[in-house]
């Protein structure tokens, strides 16, 4: 049986680590390569690097971060942010990432998912979506709407429909990020996560709202997620990966435990 994965997301701006809270007020909190290695050594299962830089000049800095991570960290990781074409995707994969993470660009151009999936395989394409809770309507029957541009632009697209479409187009995995929950540390959006996990047959990674180990337990059971994304819990040193996993294992969740040497 597969273990439930604990994944951390590192937002990178101009080569530095940043953590967004409700997508505003980002603050630098360190070197992404150092953080990645620290979490790897703690037993993290996977990493996501999100490039939140706007300038094209900083894209080269990001590729340098990716290749330095690949030289030191021997777990899978994906890279997202600003990937608009198959060539963009190809560059981060060549730099050492296993997977690409597409978000806004895929909403604007769904063909990107299909092209990337054909070029690199579905396992290399992660569809990441930012989702906002809205009143149910004929257009948004689930009451969960896809938004882009860091949460600023609603797309009139139902998140459940988009997830199904993304799977058909060839996404091998989904990151479901609740903007309502992001940065609040009061728990993941369980209903949204469960609706998507039940709608698609690819793994679903819950994102946004994790503040305590019990929040991960909730989203991995009730939320039916295959993996949970943690950010501030780890970034501010409130918990180690080991502490989170020990808690989950204690409650019967299968997680990968790192054993001490000897």
């Amino acid at each position: 049986m597969l273990s439930k994965r604990i994944i951390s997301c590192l937002d990178v701006r101009d080569g530095k680590l940043a953590k967004s809270v409700k997508f505003v007020d980002t603050q630098d909190i360190g070197d992404p390569v150092e953080k990645a290695r620290e979490y790897y050594e703690q037993g993290l299962d996977e990493l996501v690097f999100y490039d939140i830089t706007a300038s094209s000049e900083a894209r080269g800095i990001m590729l340098d971060v990716v290749s330095r991570v690949a030289e030191q960290v021997f777990i899978p990781f994906s890279v997202g942010g600003g990937l608009r074409t198959v060539d963009d995707c190809s560059r981060v994969l060549l730099a050492g990432a296993e997977k690409v993470n597409v978000n806004s660009a895929a909403v604007k151009n769904p063909g990107l998912i299909a092209e990337a999936s054909k070029a690199f395989g579905a396992q290399a394409v992660v569809l990441s979506m930012d989702v906002l809770r809205v009143p149910k309507s004929p257009q948004i029957p689930s009451g969960y709407e896809v938004v882009i541009n860091g949460g600023r632009t609603p797309m009139g697209l139902d998140a459940i429909e988009w997830a199904k479409r993304g799977e058909e187009l060839g996404a091998g995995e989904m990151v479901v990020n609740s903007i309502d929950a992001d940065g609040t540390k009061v728990g993941y959006e369980l209903t949204l996560t469960r609706l998507i996990a039940e709608a698609v047959s690819v793994p679903v990674i819950a994102s946004g709202g994790g503040g305590k180990p019990e929040h991960l337990y909730d989203v991995l059971t009730e939320g039916k997620a295959d993996a949970a994304l943690v950010a501030s819990m780890l970034h501010y040193g409130e918990y180690t990966v080991g502490q989170i996993k020990e808690y989950l294992a204690g409650r019967g969740i299968k997680v990968r435990m790192i054993k001490d040497e000897g």
Partner: protein
Amino acid sequence: MITLVDYKAGNLTSVRRALTHLGIPCQITADPEQVRRADKIIFPGVGAAGAAMSVLRERGLDSALKESFAAGKPILGICIGCQIILEHSEEDDAACLGLLDGKTIRFGRGAGWHPALLKIPHMGWNAVTVTQPHPLLSHLRPDDEFYFVHSYYPQPADPGQIYATSDYGGEFPVAIGRDNLFAVQFHTEKSGVVGLKVLENFANWQL
């Protein structure tokens, strides 16, 4: 010096980075002559069996690998490199190298299979159980986990050629081999310390 066979497989550079990190000298080549001259060969891979076999044939690497196996050179296959050493793969209905008897089959046929509960590809971390001791797996402890990404798995005809299994809707082989050939379905280069150790064991493997 370990030679990495380049047949457009996606994880080639990841394997090279892992070896470099371990201080193990290696070179990447697509030249069948270089493969014939190699001391040890790693045969990695990500992708589809049919495409992999086409590239191997185009580059003349298929016969170089068969000759190297017959000559007794240590060979390590990873992922697709573990699947196409068998005779046939259900993926693309591809005729493969046939270094071992058997075939590569798709998940979902086992008695314990629940399609509603188990997703394909089998992607993520899973425990590997050693079923027969092998020098490349000598460091493994019960419940050590490795990283997998695959929809097909290798099934040698001779159960004596299976060294480790995992469980995903039923047991399936994840490490197979005979003589100078060893191959693993999981990604040693992405499985943390226990994975790196498999590569280190291969570098130190004396036949």
